[in-house]
Symmetry: C2
């Protein structure tokens, strides 16, 4: 037997610099391995990813928890915007969905769909953001996958993240079904920041509109409150469809009426101005770092104080109350004493906001 053993790839695969994503990076062969070892693992490495098997394996920290899972695909355009990028969004979006069940986020998976020709330096910036956000949220990126499609068959990069969290039984049953007449409705800060920041970046309005996305992982702020035993009925982040749609979902699921005091809703002046010029209602503009909390009235003061002590909750405020006079409806009260019905978002306000 005579074989030239110097041919064939060495083990481990040597690094090689390539400036742009090519179809071969999605082949599952040498180029895929090279991209993983020289780019992805540079930012995301951890013992679970190093297992290098078809799945990552772990043990639950608390064997007596329930498990929460969720998934979100991210297609935001443009991929960089003031306050964040698609990488930060992909981590925070899934972390927040877990946190909205009272879960402690533990593990994240990320599936990347890359367009041929994407600059690798752009991918690196996004991976850096993901790593930073995952570190802040204390979640481990445990598994990943990369596919490449031909130029013109995707838009730079799409990232689908899935998350697994543990819900301690002590966190109670938090659900959109659980709002009760008499409850208070809290929002953790100003609305519309994310949607307007993305819109400004997309339309070259950055000189005129100075708004940063609020994209943030909210799990630590919420854990602090839940660990103190606060009795929270509903947690939900008003993302696509904005605050109006989220409140309608809760009113519908819990079969209650939600009454909101319009004057209490925090809105940044720059967001308000942008919405007025562009003809948007900020109630429908997406948020990525805010939470609606519904809790019994007598807990609301304590919870708002606790939120205000966290950087992501400084503008927290009670904006309304739950009743049962018109189940399934959301009613907005203005300072003149008149009211209007607020429905879900119909049609599309701003596509590709997340």
């Amino acid at each position: 037997m005579s074989i030239d053993l110097s041919s064939g790839p060495q083990c481990p695969i040597p690094l090689q610099h390539r400036e742009k994503i090519i179809l071969g990076h999605g082949s599952g062969g040498t180029l895929s391995q090279e991209l993983i070892s020289s780019v992805f693992l540079k930012y995301l490495n951890n013992p679970l990813l190093e297992q290098n098997d078809d799945s990552a394996q772990f043990e639950l920290i608390n064997k007596n928890s329930r498990i929460a899972i969720t998934t979100d695909s991210h297609i935001v355009s443009p991929i960089f915007f003031p306050g964040g990028d698609i990488g930060k969004l992909a981590v925070c979006g899934t972390v927040n969905d877990l946190a909205m069940s009272g879960a402690i986020p533990r593990y994240l998976t990320a599936g990347f769909i890359l367009e041929e020709g994407l600059e690798i330096s752009i991918l690196e910036r996004i991976l850096y953001s993901m790593a930073e956000a995952a570190k802040e949220a204390d979640i481990l990126i445990a598994a990943g996958d990369t596919k490449v499609v031909e130029r013109g068959k995707a838009d730079q990069i799409f990232i689908t993240t899935s998350g697994i969290g543990e819900i301690p039984y002590s966190h109670g049953h938090i659900s959109g079904n659980n709002a009760q007449p008499g409850d208070a409705v809290i929002i953790s800060g100003s609305i519309g920041d994310h949607g307007i920041a993305v819109l400004a970046a997309r339309n070259n309005l950055l000189g005129e509109i100075d708004v940063r996305s609020d994209v943030s992982p909210l799990n630590k702020m919420l854990q602090g409150i839940l660990e103190e035993g606060a009795e929270i009925h509903v947690l939900r982040d008003p993302t696509r469809g904005g605050l109006a749609t989220t409140l309608n979902e809760i009113a519908c699921q819990s079969r209650v009426t939600i009454h909101i005091e319009e004057s209490q809703i925090p809105i940044q002046p720059a967001v308000k101005a942008a919405c007025e010029i562009l003809g948007f209602d900020p109630m429908y503009v997406a948020n990525e770092g805010k939470v609606v909390i519904i809790c019994s009235h007598n807990q609301s003061e304590k919870i708002v104080a606790k939120l205000k002590a966290h950087p992501y909750g400084v503008d927290s405020v009670v904006i309304g109350r739950v009743d049962n006079d018109h189940p399934g409806k959301v009613i907005l009260h203005n300072i003149y004493g008149t009211t209007r019905l607020v429905t879900r978002l119909s049609g599309e306000l701003l596509p590709r906001i997340c």
Copy 2:
């Protein structure tokens, strides 16, 4: 207070027929709800999806299992091919990745990226396939997400699935690191079927090439073997990059040599003929319903017999052995007694195969 309560959406949202996906279906508002309730839930409904919260919640069946998680993005083109479609692939791909760790697949999440203009009847066919595959694999689709991008910014539909499984401790430690000198190498059937079927569908060669994809969930077949206490060291499905790349990964991870008898590798005549005409080496062509099993030599006969008794394993055969003479290398022996080194796939053989 006077409000016209007849305006605004009813609860639950009424169905409304639309023939094509529009941007508003990704808005998170009324149209998204409509798409979910009238299309997605028609095929995928189950108690977990009905929870209708930001995450799905469940308890582990066996609190003493380890947990396996994995993710895969699916971008196959064309989306329908002989033997399957992107929906079946998206479920089986993730189910099989779980099964390759010895896990019992439990829950699946699915993130959909839809191109504006996709016919809803096409989406329905894909969802139907997903539901059928999930039923066969006995996995529950627990969470989903849908985004829509403008026409020309994606290619009909991309699906990213993530899976969670439970690994009973009795299944031992199955890993690509675990091949040992003296072990036997088994393949569960003919290679190259999936890649050639997709290629034929893509290039209108269906009249000339009559090959069906092998896309299948392999978990039940493998569970049957593991539950009987077979001592398996490595399980891996030779998908992108084909059998050659998979064997190289294992040789590299386990620091062993893998010797393969070329004449023992099962290849369908139609696949062989197509590869000869097109200049492909079937060793690099993707499979979606085959598994490489590496086990101690004295277990191999029993395992092959058990595989042969299952519809997905009738052509199972021992194709080689593990040694330590040239660690990290895969060596192919032909019937004339000569040998050649088989490396990983370099470059891209067939893009968008999964």
